[in-house]
């Protein structure tokens, strides 16, 4: 939990400078903290926009690219960007076919994206919203709308991005994005915190032998906190909780994402994947295009999230469609 940075206040801007300098063929920053595809909006294509706090790379900015998103607005670490930045991202994403806002269900982000949408209305740019709320640990099924959005959002980015690339209408892209959002269930667990640069302190405290099940990616409280357990036991509990929320059986096809929150290495994600696959194999559930890696992080946090995305023919076709950003290439 030690960091490499200059002045904390410059963390985000220097990061974005570096990102655009490293991948000028993919990303551009036409106005501060608004990142678009290098070529800007695609005429005639629905624009996809996301946004939220920094500190989650590749989420959010990393998923701007062909077959994925068109623009993002990025805030300070773990803090919402402003409504004006969001509106600017939407303007830059608009290719004349309207814009879909696709982002995680966090209070500040929701309010600001709503305001941004109202601003665009006045500018006669059509826009719609799909809010991502995949974290089963954050509210009961009856209160699904209150759930947080976590790693499952990348399925929505990918699937909606592919649908937009097909030149579907704003309504069609929105419908598919909502379907993808509804198809995802995630849960996380954390072992150690990260440090928000401007705060300078860990986001939470956990004993040397403790873990927390269900913790959110900003350290939001989870379901229980206790001694760490073996990888298989942790994976089993995560799978049990996901399957309780979205029962699966023979004939179901899913993709799963085993995601590191940052510090947890690939080695350990594969140990978890192995168990998760065994569980799904037992149920006769087919896994297609599984993802294992660092897809949605909290900087140097230790821990992992598990996402199940239940696929139908359309979702699978779109998930497999070509896409390219600095962190995810599908050919």
């Amino acid at each position: 939990m030690k960091k490499i940075l200059n002045r904390p206040v410059d963390y985000v801007d220097e990061m974005l400078d570096g990102l655009c300098a490293a991948h000028p063929d993919i990303y551009a920053q036409p106005s501060p903290r608004v990142i678009t595809r290098a070529g800007g909006a695609t005429a005639g294509k629905v624009g996809l926009v996301t946004g939220g706090g920094s500190g989650h790379l590749p989420v959010f900015t990393g998923y701007v690219g062909r077959g994925l998103l068109d623009a993002t607005a990025i805030g300070d670490v773990f803090a919402s960007p402003s409504a004006e930045q969001m509106a600017e991202a939407m303007r830059r994403a608009d290719g004349g076919a309207g814009v879909l806002r696709l982002y995680g269900n966090y209070g500040g982000d929701v309010m600001n994206f709503d305001m941004a949408g109202e601003m665009l209305e006045m500018e006669d740019i059509a826009s719609t919203t799909v809010v991502l709320a995949d974290d089963v640990a954050s509210a009961a099924p009856e209160e699904r709308a209150k759930r947080r959005g976590v790693a499952g959002m990348i399925y929505a980015f990918k699937i909606a991005g592919a649908r937009a690339e097909e030149r579907a209408s704003l309504d069609e892209v929105t419908t598919t994005a909502q379907k993808a959002a509804d198809a995802c269930r995630s849960i996380g667990m954390a072992l150690s915190p990260c440090i928000v640069p401007q705060a300078g302190r860990p986001t939470f405290e956990l004993g040397e032998d403790e873990m927390e099940m269900g913790m959110g990616i900003h350290g939001e409280p989870g379901i229980w906190r206790d001694k760490t357990k073996p990888a298989d036991a942790i994976t089993d509990e995560m799978m049990d909780r996901l399957l309780a929320d979205t029962p699966l059986g023979r004939d179901d096809r899913v993709s799963i994402l085993v995601n590191s929150l940052g510090a947890t290495p690939l080695e350990e994600l594969y140990i978890m994947f192995r168990r998760a696959k065994a569980r799904l194999d037992d149920l006769g559930v087919a896994i297609t295009m599984p993802l294992v890696g660092r897809y949605a992080t909290s900087m140097e946090m230790t821990g992992a999230t598990m996402t199940i995305c239940r696929l139908d023919g359309e979702l699978e076709r779109l998930l497999r469609a070509p896409a390219n950003c600095a962190y995810w290439t599908v050919t």
Binding site: G75, F78, A79, S80, P81, S82, A83, E84, Q85, Y106, G107, G108, V110, M111, N112, D114, M115, S138, K146, V196, Q198, A199, T203, G216, H218, G219, E220, P221
Partner: protein, 213 residues
């Protein structure tokens, strides 16, 4: 309370900005216990930026500048809600160079409605909405005259009476019953702001507020 003019607004904002610098750590700590610990930064940055803005004489446009300043620098929930309230007030007062004190309860009602729409919140969920509502009622009752002591009392009482209840909205909701016994950071912030405003009202004549008492 006197009437609201652009210079009065500027003076009030400046006074809150100074006070917010001082109470920011207390707010960060309160928000740290139930959220992400940024509320002190949000409030002090927001009022700081608004205090630095040049305000036009039109009261509505003056409130609009404050709203924009808030939005520029603090986009956390509270910042956005404050901006929303300022924006609603701006709309309601546009085109006037002075707004009488008697309009204040109505303006507060407008701000409250806008905040509830923006944040999809309800009264009783232990948020800043409850504070605003309580102050609005207190002003309504108190009518004319020096309403600030009543406002401060209402804001303070809201913090204390909600302390024993769980948070039902925003980030603090995640703590469930763990939030019982703790002050809602947003309610606390509101109380500290109103207190700062009261202090600002006292030497009001000297700082451009037309004291109507």
């Amino acid at each position: 309370m006197g009437e609201i003019t652009a210079p009065a607004l500027a003076a009030a904002v400046a006074r809150i900005a100074v006070a917010a610098e001082a109470f920011a750590p207390e707010l960060n700590a309160a928000d740290g216990a139930l959220g992400d610990g940024d509320l002190g930064i949000t409030v002090s940055r927001g009022f700081g930026e608004a205090a630095g803005a040049a305000l036009p004489a039109d009261v509505g446009l003056a409130f609009l500048e404050c709203a924009k300043a808030f939005q520029r620098v603090s986009s956390s929930s509270y910042g956005t809600l404050v901006a929303t309230a300022l924006m609603a007030t701006a709309k309601a007062t546009k085109g006037r160079d002075a707004v009488p004190a008697s309009d204040v309860p109505g303006l507060l009602k407008g701000a409250l409605d806008a905040m509830m729409a923006r944040g999809k919140g309800n009264l009783g969920e232990k948020t800043v909405l409850d504070s605003l509502h309580a102050v609005m009622l207190a002003l309504d009752e108190r009518g004319e005259g020096d309403v600030m002591p009543a406002a401060v009392r209402a804001a303070r009482e809201t913090v204390e009476s909600f302390r024993a209840r769980p948070n039902k909205l925003g980030r603090a909701r995640m703590f469930g019953d763990g939030s019982i016994g703790l002050a809602d950071p947003g309610q606390l912030a509101f109380c500290l702001i109103v207190e700062a405003l009261q202090t600002a009202m006292v030497p009001a004549g000297r700082t451009g507020v037309t004291d109507g008492d």
